[in-house]
């Protein structure tokens, strides 16, 4: 590695390291699989289709620039300390994939297991955390309820004084929790998929589907129609609208979720800190910036605008936890579109349209699931049957009122 850098430095010309393949000028006569959306989930599915199932005649169709949706806008928190058995096992598989992902893809995704603390400010919150911790441990996921003394040791910068409105009573500590470089994972999957012949069409919007006797046969786009045997929809915030193009409804509301980043400073904060009661979370990147976010906006909307109120409430609460941040300046704020489900679990698997598969309902928590979504959706598309890890997340669970309740573990802190 050091050697390759040396070699690079001594060379006279840059040897391109083609990460993102150029968009082909025209479509092939037909594809085995068309993936709608070019975010991390879509690219991961394309990668695993090509690498694990030998399905390479695949087109990924993205309406904007590659992975410019929520994949580019999230706060990159990875963790598996969920509440339901389905959730814990699913996200745990993802955390395992993250551990080797840089090696697997040949790009440094900068996965950093920094430890993750979810603060409790009420005894009810402590109870829910203990429940999470117990379920996590049952499935082998490191997770423990800790008290103020342990919190102080893990995060000495945190304000543990009782002279605040909501003193910290305890926390759920999850050592494997951490962050990653969000864009890089999408680029890595794109690079790996393209190496196997997958086509990536940027600046191409899907506008409709050809459906013949309940079975999908084609994908209409702003650049023409693609013939295909199978379709995978992975469009996050646009899920309900694209599903409507295919003729079915989703129990999903799209709500803006905002975040912001500060100027870079020297290392200050090691762990990822989340407060469910104050609705804020924060981590510090390897560049030294603080990445901060809060709860979703209070209303459904498809506009990716940012608001002043978001910053005001975020910082008013954040300074309770970290009064030192009063000396910082924020640099940039933005919004993404969170596809929220009633039970805070995703919607994955088959749909009412034959050969049309879906990966949606990722709300505020889907970045961490990128690898496992790719893996399980690729298997589902390849075999036509839902992968065992996602059976519980089927769309028809809502018709049966069979929800997978993750509200207690997913509502804030992504």
């Amino acid at each position: 590695m050091v050697l390759s850098l040396l070699r690079y430095g001594l060379r006279r010309r840059h040897v391109p390291w083609r990460v993102i393949p150029p968009t082909p000028d025209r479509f092939k006569p037909s594809y085995d699989v068309v993936i709608v959306g070019g975010g991390g989930h879509a690219l991961a599915a394309a990668y695993y289709l090509a690498h694990r199932h030998d399905i390479t005649n695949v087109a990924v169709v993205e309406r904007g620039w590659l992975a410019g949706g929520n994949t580019a806008r999230n706060t990159a928190i990875i963790r598996s300390n969920y509440l339901t058995p389905e959730g814990v096992q699913f996200y745990d598989q993802s955390v395992r994939l993250w551990r080797t992902i840089s090696n697997d893809l040949g790009i440094n995704v900068m996965v950093s297991e920094r430890g993750h603390l979810t603060l409790a400010h009420t005894d009810a919150a402590i109870r829910t955390m203990r429940w999470r911790a117990e379920v996590n441990k049952h499935y082998g996921v490191a997770s423990e309820v800790v008290g103020p003394a342990e919190i102080a040791a893990l995060c000495p910068e945190l304000n543990l004084s009782h002279e605040v409105r909501y003193p910290v009573l305890g926390a759920l500590y999850h050592p494997p929790g951490g962050i990653a470089r969000h864009d890089a994972v999408a680029w890595g999957y794109a690079m790996g998929a393209a190496a196997r012949g997958v086509e990536i069409h940027q600046m191409t919007e899907v506008t409709g589907f050809d459906i013949d006797h309940g079975r999908v046969t084609g994908v209409r786009t702003t650049r023409g129609t693609m013939r295909t045997g199978r379709v995978l929809q992975a469009v996050a915030g646009n899920s309900s609208r694209v599903a409507a193009l295919a003729g079915f409804r989703l129990p999903i509301r799209t709500v803006p979720l905002q975040a912001c980043v500060s100027e870079p400073v020297k290392p200050f904060l090691d762990t990822v800190i989340v407060s469910g009661s104050l609705h804020v979370y924060i981590s510090q990147t390897a560049r030294g910036e603080f990445v901060m976010g809060g709860a979703t906006d209070p209303y459904a909307l498809y506009a990716q605008r940012s608001t002043l109120e978001f910053k005001e409430t975020l910082f008013s609460d954040m300074l309770e936890l970290f009064p030192q941040l009063a000396h910082m300046k924020m640099l940039r704020q933005w919004a993404g579109l969170a596809d929220m489900t009633p039970d805070f679990s995703p919607v994955m698997g088959l749909t009412p349209v034959e050969n049309y598969f879906i990966d949606s309902g990722w709300g505020t928590w889907g970045f961490k699931a990128t690898p496992v979504c790719g893996l399980t959706m690729a298997a589902t598309v390849a075999t036509g049957k839902p992968h065992a890890l996602i059976e519980g997340f089927a769309l028809d669970r809502f018709a049966r009122f069979d929800q997978i309740g993750e509200r207690g573990a997913a509502s804030v802190g992504s």
Binding site: I20, N108, R127, V265, K329
Partner: protein
């Protein structure tokens, strides 16, 4: 040192009568009132103000007040303060350099700068991950190097105020354009506020008063200086930093007059200290009377550089050479020639050099000379091979509009090939862009257009008809299509925040990152503190050329708020964390309650010190069992319904039946959500045929009220709903002596057991106060809930406390109440249920009206009822010698999760450890043993037990 300043009228912002000392990097420096830290340092001869982010190169001043991030310094605990915007004031904390080990001039971390060629763009992505685990080892070292300043670990938060301002027209930017627009708008009758970032309005007119003789705000204009507009939000909300206050400005129209950012020329070592923008040099001279150097080279692509050269000459700075990339001459060239200055046409800078000895070689140092090149075809440059000795290089590479605010509001910024710069389009109707922000530079044009815009803004704001104003085309001739001079040895910086060179951008494009946004993310161009204000144009040009496209072919990145780095303390303002207090809060304090958070409320957990918890709770429980206790339950939701349809309405919503509930009776009520999950419970009392009083749990009070009003709005039934949660206080007095205590204080109610039965409701007076009385039994003893207007809550509480003293009355808190209700196996919604619990699972199927045809969640229950139960809530007992399992301990069945403990406690009255737990239905029978795993991992046994645990016949509460 304050000598050596230029004489007046130079120094327009200075108050020469007052010197202000401060400390920089341990040295005492003296400046003048009106100076910025940067101008004072420059005057004192300090040249290295900062170290760059990545390569730790020494940096001086690039711009002055130009919102670049070149001269960031540390002020006490505050990192990343722009020295060129930091005003000298008395008592300034010590100023330090940043991102250096040792001192700024001798940064022991400077070695990294010599490794540049081994750190290609995106190199982190390509390295440090093989073999597995490498990143874990290397990342800590990278983290340590990253970042600029140091955030003090124990800084504190002084609360800042917010200011709300309203006006017809807000003008942002107090330069000639802003002033002209503001004056015109005011003259047209609008109320106008002008926001200016600097300490005084004037902008470019302070540098060149002759060009803008009328740049003075009129009397009708309210001028606010030191004001930085940070964001223009969708609903017309303008966020402005006003010194130490945060301004929320509502203006009908906003004029964006924020000017333009002068652009560097991209050439080798253009970042050396002493290489600065022409606008910075002119600001130092005119505003601060500072001679920016002794011998200068000026390199330019437009007239602004020439104007700077004239200024320098006039200020006594020797001019080594002026290089103009253009070939045509104009009057400025003539004037320079008259002054004896050599001007080289068709000439560009090739390389700035520093020869500061061996130390300079290693640490870097200020500029000592420059080599020029003649321009050939296609942007090639032929170096002249001669060195021009100088300690100052002044450059002008054109202008890029600072139009971010217009973009926040929805305008688009795209490359304009005619003017070789960015231009605005799609500006929304309430926003007007003027002056350099709109691409105009010629004084007469600027002022004329701004006046017109100001007038139009006033018309629009006042609702008068406005002719659609075509936004002006940017003026050509002030920019250059390619102010970029590649050098075979690189180091031509086009992004100063991130130390990015031409090759970095070209290579990123070659790696496939060819869209503006992808390029930004991969190369980090534009991600730094200045957000690319001095870089975006050059990045676009280089990327376009690398792709063999015109610059228009690559969209610029989205401009997001804030305009420049924005203070977090101002945004946070005064912490507003509302708290609710019940009418009896003072009493609780007087009794020494330890409180706990319950939503916005603070409820007594028990009465006594935290260390005393166990004893206090036991005494409170004992009082309720043996004498009497009193608890404040004012936090309960209290909702009143009146109207002919009230009974039918409630019956349609609650799972419990209420249509035929007799007047004068109360009933337990259970509310489900649409999926059939338990959402809330309480008591509904029927006070009259058409009058109901509904309680809800503390946690769900708001949600339940919201649901009722929402459904009423949908159904349009004849019922009025009033939320009395805050208007009424409530207490529960319970225990064998409660009737006796109450008897002495109650009027109009017959308390006799036969007359006021369990679950009856009555109107009456308690201690002279009109109240509602409910006989309820949550804690398992004879008891009464008393609801009264909050204004009298304290009086009634005190009266009862006084009357009860002789009967052993004690106030009790939430902890005692929890144990008391657990003894009765009463479920707490949200603790013994979770968001997905059906009545059947909670063993509360009895509460659901069997014959009811309508209630929220009924359809879902019908579907869910067809499937076998997965879990059931049961009561359990454990051996008295065991430890009490913490709530949420898992119930283990085989090696799977079978359920969990929802409540558990040691109860003297029930004789041992009791609790509630979800268990598999196969384990639900009385006497079934099951296993609990404690958080420690230890397994303990429990047994399903009959409930209630205490007084199974309910004789005590119903006596």
């Amino acid at each position: 040192m304050t000598t050596g300043r230029l004489p007046p009228p130079y120094g327009r912002l200075l108050d020469r009568a007052r010197t202000i000392p401060f400390e920089f990097e341990g040295a005492r420096i003296e400046g003048l009132a009106g100076d910025t830290v940067a101008s004072a340092l420059w005057a004192a001869g300090t040249r290295v103000l900062a170290r760059s982010f990545k390569y730790r190169r020494p940096r001086g001043l690039l711009g002055h007040g130009a919102f670049d991030a070149t001269s960031y310094v540390q002020r006490g605990a505050e990192p990343n303060v722009a020295a060129d915007r930091l005003l000298l004031v008395d008592g300034l904390p010590a100023i330090e350099g940043q991102n250096r080990i040792g001192s700024l001039t001798r940064d022991r971390g400077a070695w990294i700068g010599h490794l540049g060629r081994f750190l290609p763009v995106g190199f982190y992505y390509r390295t440090f991950f093989r073999p597995a685990g490498s990143w874990d080892r290397i990342e800590p070292a990278i983290r340590r190097r990253a970042g600029l300043g140091i955030l003090g670990k124990d800084g504190h938060h002084a609360e800042c105020e917010k200011v709300h301002l309203f006006c017809d027209v807000a003008v942002v930017g107090g330069g000639p354009a802003g002033i002209a627009a503001a004056n015109a708008a005011a003259a047209a009758g609008a109320e106008v506020i002008l926001f200016e970032a600097m300490a005084r309005a004037g902008g470019f007119a302070l540098v060149d008063p002759a060009a803008f003789p009328d740049a003075l705000p009129a009397d009708g204009v309210r001028v606010m200086t030191g004001a930085i507009a940070q964001g223009l939000f969708e609903d017309g909300m303008l966020a402005v930093e006003l010194g130490d206050r945060h301004g929320r400005v509502r203006a009908r129209c906003v004029v964006v007059a924020t000017g333009a950012a002068e652009q560097p020329i991209v050439f080798r070592n253009n970042d050396l200290p002493g290489v600065m923008l022409a606008s910075a040099a002119r600001a130092l001279i005119h505003l601060y009377a500072v001679r920016p150097g002794t011998r200068a080279a000026v390199v330019t692509v437009n007239d602004h550089g020439l104007a700077a050269a004239l200024d320098l000459h006039a200020a006594g700075v020797e001019i080594a050479i002026v290089a103009d990339a253009r070939t045509a001459t104009n009057i400025l060239h003539e004037r320079l020639a008259e002054a004896g200055v050599t001007v080289r046409l068709g000439t560009v800078p090739y390389e700035a050099v520093q020869s500061n000895g061996l130390a300079g070689l290693y640490y870097g140092g200020p500029v000592t000379g420059i080599e020029l090149a003649t321009k050939g075809a296609h942007g090639t440059a032929r170096p002249e091979g001669a060195l021009h000795v100088c300690d100052l290089v002044v450059m002008s590479g054109g202008w890029s509009p600072l139009a971010a605010l217009a973009c926040h509001a929805g305008a688009r910024l795209a490359y304009d090939a005619d003017a070789d710069t960015f231009a605005l389009s799609d500006i929304p109707g309430h926003v007007f862009a003027v002056g350099a922000a709109a691409g105009l530079h010629t004084p007469t044009l600027v002022v004329e257009d701004a006046r017109e815009a100001g007038h139009a803004a006033a018309d629009a704001a006042l609702g008068r008809s406005v002719l659609a104003r075509a936004s002006p085309e940017p003026e050509p001739g002030f920019n250059h299509p390619w102010p970029i001079v590649p050098h075979p040895k690189g180091k031509e910086f086009l992004e100063f925040d991130e130390d990015l060179t031409i090759a970095d951008i070209e290579n990123a494009v070659a790696d496939g990152f060819d869209h503006g946004e992808l390029l930004k993310r991969y190369s980090t161009a534009g991600m730094g503190p200045s957000q690319g204000k001095q870089a975006a144009l050059a990045v676009l040009r280089v990327a376009a050329r690398a792709r063999r496209l015109a610059p228009e072919g690559i969209g610029p990145t989205t401009s997001r708020p804030p305009f420049t780095a924005e203070r977090i303390d101002l945004l946070a303002g005064r912490a507003f964390h509302p708290a609710r207090a019940t009418a009896m809060q003072l009493q609780h304090r007087a009794y020494g309650a330890t409180t706990m958070v319950a939503g916005l409320w603070q409820r007594p957990a028990f009465y006594g010190a935290p260390a005393d918890a166990e004893r206090a709770i036991a005494a409170e429980v004992m009082a309720v069992h043996e004498a009497t206790g009193m608890i404040d339950v004012s936090t309960l939701g209290k909702i009143e319904l009146r109207g002919p349809d009230a009974a039918a309405f409630l019956d349609r919503i609650y799972a419990t039946p209420h249509a035929k509930q007799p007047v004068g009776r109360g009933r337990y009520c259970l509310l489900l959500d649409e999926a059939g999950n338990i959402a809330d419970d309480g008591v509904i009392g029927r006070l009259a045929e058409t009058h109901f009083y509904v309680t809800a749990t503390t946690g769900q009070a708001d949600a339940t009220y919201r649901l009722l009003t929402w459904l009423n709005a949908q159904w349009g039934m004849d019922v009025d709903i009033t939320n009395l949660t805050g208007a009424f206080a409530a207490l529960n007095i319970a225990g064998p002596a409660s009737r006796t205590v109450l008897a002495g204080l109650v009027e109009d109610v017959d308390l006799a057991p036969g007359a006021f039965k369990y679950m009856d409701v009555r109107h009456g007076r308690v201690a002279g106060v009109a109240a509602r009385l409910l006989r309820v039994g949550f804690v398992g003893e004879l008891g009464y809930e008393i609801h009264m207007p909050a204004a009298y809550g304290q009086a009634v509480w005190t009266a009862l406390a006084d009357a009860g003293r002789a009967h052993g009355l004690r106030p009790f808190g939430v902890e005692a109440q929890r144990l008391l209700r657990l003894q009765k196996a009463h479920v707490i919604i949200g603790q013994d249920t979770d968001g997905l619990t059906t009545p059947a699972e909670a063993n509360m199927g009895w509460a659901v009206g069997k014959t009811k045809t309508s209630f929220v969640g009924r359809a879902a229950l019908a579907v869910r009822g067809t499937r076998p139960l997965q879990r059931v809530l049961v009561g359990f007992r454990m051996d008295a010698s065991a430890t009490v399992p913490p709530e949420a301990s898992l119930v283990i069945e085989g090696d799977a999760i079978g359920g969990r403990v929802t409540s558990a406690a040691r109860s003297a009255a029930a004789g041992g450890i009791i609790g509630l737990a979800f268990v598999p239905p196969s384990r639900a029978a009385e006497g079934s043993p099951f296993a609990i795993r404690l958080p420690s991992g230890a397994m303990v046994g429990a047994e399903v037990a009959p409930t209630p645990f205490y007084d199974p016949g309910n004789t005590r509460q119903e006596r």
